[in-house]
Structure formats: C-alpha cells, structure tokens
C-alpha cells in the first residue's frame, strides 16, 4: 500500500516551528512520508507544494492567531486546485469555539497543546483510510 504522504507547513509570520518539527518527526516514526516545508509559507505556497507532492494530508501549525484567516484560505485554494480530497488538519493555540467553527467549514480535527502525537497519527491514519476508500 502507498505510504501516507503528509505536508507539514507553517504559514504566516510566527517563528515557532518546534511543534511542527516534533509533529513531522512523530508522523515519520508512524511510517508516513512527511514533507517539511518550514517557516513563513503563504497559503499559495502550501497548496502548490501539496499538489506537486501528491499528498493525502496538509498539516498546518499556527501560533499566530491568524487561524480563522489561514485555514479557510488554504481550504479554498485546495478546492480550487482540485485537491478537495486532501485532508486539512493542524494544531496550535486555537480556542475551542473557533476550532469547531473551522471544522464546520470542512477543516479536519484540529489539535491543541498537550495532544499526544500518537493521537494525531491515529486520526490521520483513520481519516486517510476513509477518504481513500470513498475514492
């Protein structure tokens, strides 16, 4: 079976990439192919990379407070690029209410501080299996 491919990106201007690196490593250890794109990515850069790398998942790490702008923007660009099948997920400091609002718009589950990385890996595995099965 094709390994799960995940793009990990940090859009926006905050420079805190430790969380993103920990997540990238944890997903690699869970057997996934993780493309790490690093800091200061624009939504357009994230989506171009997601397309070229043919990923199953895009994970955004956000600590800047711009999540209500950046997640919907990436989601919209993914859809416009014909990548509606790609799971958009991520984490950072995001209040519960806004997390739910984003999920309602079609973003996947978002994870807050203190989430064990195994929970994230399990969620991705399950969600990708479901999406691959539904074609």
């Amino acid at each position: 079976m094709k390994p799960i491919r995940v793009l990990i990106a940090k859009p926006g201007l905050d420079g805190h990439d430790r969380g993103a690196k920990v997540v990238a490593q944890a997903l690699r250890d869970a057997g996934m192919e993780v493309i790490y794109t690093g800091l200061r990515q624009t939504p357009e850069m994230v989506v171009k990379a997601a397309l070229e790398e043919d990923v199953d998942v895009v994970g955004l790490s956000l600590h800047s407070g711009a999540h209500m702008t950046l997640f919907p923007r990436v989601l919209q660009l993914l859809q416009e690029a014909g990548l509606g099948h790609v799971l958009l997920t991520g984490g950072g400091v995001i209040p519960e209410k806004e997390r739910l609002a984003l999920q309602e718009q079609g973003v996947g589950t978002l994870f807050g501080p203190g989430t064990p990385t195994s929970a994230l890996a399990a969620y991705i595995e399950e969600e990708v299996a479901r999406r691959r099965a539904s074609g």
Binding site: E33, V34, I35, Y36, K48, L51, E52, L83
Partner: protein, 306 residues
C-alpha cells in the same frame, strides 16, 4: 483524457499523480511510461550528490534560480532516505528551496527511498523520464551520496555534480565512497571555511592521475551567496556533451546500464518467486555445516537455472 495525455499537455496535477504511480512501480507505471517514452530526451539532466550536510539542497535552490534567470523550465527530484524500521521518511529538501519552488515554472517533487531493494534505482530515473516528457528543460536530481543506489541514481544524469565541503572529510573519503569516479564537476561548497584549499589541492592531484577525455573542473561555491561558478561549469560540460556526439554516447551507455540492472532484477524476481525449495535446501545445508554459503548458493543457482 488519459493521465499520459494530460501530462504531455502540461497538467501539473496529472504529473503529480503520475509520479506517485511511478513511485509505486506497478502496472500503471509501466503503461504510463510506455505512453510518454517517445516524448522524452529533450531535457538536460543534472545529478547532484555528496555527503550529508555538504549543502546540496541549498546549492540546488541557487541553481534553480540561475536556470530560471535563463528562462529554463526546471524540475527537481529530491531523494531522502526512508527509515528502515518504520518505512516513514522526513523529506526536508523542499524546506531549503521554498522561495524557488514557488515559481510556476518550477516543479519540485520529494521522493523517499522506500527501502525496497532496487526500488529507488527504478523509481527515481523513471520519475525524471516523466518530468522530461512533461516538458521541463532542465531536471535536477539530488541524492545523498552514501550507498550505491543513491550514487547510481545521480549517475544516470547527463552531468553529475559531486558536492563536498571542507568538513566532509578529505578527498580519500570521497574516493572510497565511489563519488569521484562519477563526477563531471567537483564542487567544494562552504568554500569560505578552513580546509577548502587543501581539499581542492588533493582533488586536483587525484585528477592529475586520471586519464579521461573530460577533466572534471573543481569549482568553489558558497551556496548562501551564489552558485554561479557551478552554473558556469555545468554550461561548460553541457557544451562538451554537445560536441562530437558525446551526449548520445553517454545516454546510450546510461540506457544500457539501466536496462541491464532492471532486466537482472526482474529476472531474479521471476526466478526466485518459484525457488522456495532450492533456497530452503541451501539454508539447511549451510546450517548443518554441509556447505559454505558460497557453495550452497552456487548449487541452488544451478538447480534453479540448470
């Protein structure tokens, strides 16, 4: 429209999907590659290899910028190792070229080596074939220069750059790894660091003892600033290839090598698929002390292919 047609028309998403098929190396990949083969051969391929930490990805980013300034359409295949334990991989080359990769005329694909024996040596050159057919003028393939397969992949290119840095060890280390013999250009990166002169001198003296129609130039770069010297050396090698049919000769040698390896792999797979009893017998002979490994292997091979 088929995936192959879409790729030939420059559809980027089709290319991305096609590359995934090629990586999986299944029946889909064979059909796709057959369908586009006649459209390959136009792109120039440059292989970049060298020890970890020599600065290959940063150098590739700089080269991409220079080739873009010359208005070439650039494809990059960056190979990183998969974990032998989990099969996962952390592909970080894109990280070093995020600005260059954003250009619409640049396509970057990260490949994991995926551990399986021979997998990478089939998948990576085939990925380049697909990008070639998709209409890129210049293809860069970057691999870590440890391990025969990674080195071989870089060696399938028209021009091979071996990147060393003053702290990556002396010229003897590079020679041991089999890097020097495949180099068309030797690039000392991080050349502002101590030891660059000594490394350059020892590389030159090794080249003095080698007789070949093309003497690899030893160029110095500091990839944080510029890769202009490397870009010029590549232009010189390209000009050399364009003279007297060198390019055609080199490509034919490359096809022969790739074909021989592939046919050998495929035959071995086909033959070994049904050779369980002979191998079991050989293992039993070795464990019981009746035969050496070499002796038992020969006997099994003769039993399988009389």
């Amino acid at each position: 429209m088929s995936v192959a047609d879409a790729i030939l028309r420059g559809d980027r998403q089709a290319l991305a999907r096609g590359l995934s098929q090629v990586e999986a190396l299944g029946a889909e990949a064979v059909a796709l590659l057959d369908a586009v083969w006649s459209r390959t051969g136009r792109a120039r391929r440059v292989g970049i290899t060298g020890p970890p930490g020599a600065g290959k990805s940063t150098l590739v980013a700089r080269l991409v910028r220079l080739f873009r300034e010359a208005d070439r359409k650039v494809g990059v295949v960056a190979v990183d190792p998969s974990s032998a334990f989990t099969g996962g991989a952390l592909l970080g080359d894109r990280h070093r070229m995020s600005r260059e990769a954003f250009d619409e005329q640049v396509f970057v694909r990260s490949l994991a080596s995926r551990g399986s024996l021979g997998g990478l040596s089939r998948a990576a050159p085939a990925a380049l074939d697909l990008m070639d057919a998709a209409g890129f003028d210049l293809l860069l393939v970057e691999t870590v220069g440890v391990g025969q397969v990674e080195i071989e992949v870089a060696a399938t290119a028209d021009s091979v750059v071996v990147v060393l840095s003053p702290e990556s060890g002396d010229a003897v280390q590079a020679m041991k790894a089999g890097l020097l013999e495949i180099a068309d250009v030797l690039c000392i990166n991080k050349s502002d660091r101590e030891g660059a002169d000594a490394l350059a001198a020892s590389l030159e003296s090794m080249l003095d003892r080698r007789e070949a129609p093309w003497r690899p130039p030893v160029v110095r770069t500091n990839a944080l600033e510029s890769a202009a010297a490397l870009h010029e050396a590549l232009a010189a090698h390209a000009a050399y290839l364009d003279e007297n049919g060198h390019l055609e000769e080199r490509r034919n040698e490359g096809f022969t090598r790739r074909l021989r390896n592939l046919v050998a792999d495929l035959v071995a797979e086909a033959v070994l698929g049904g050779a369980g009893p002979e191998i079991d017998q050989a293992v039993a002979d070795v464990s019981a002390g009746r035969r050496s490994i070499l002796g038992a292997a020969r006997r099994a091979a003769e039993a399988i292919v009389p």
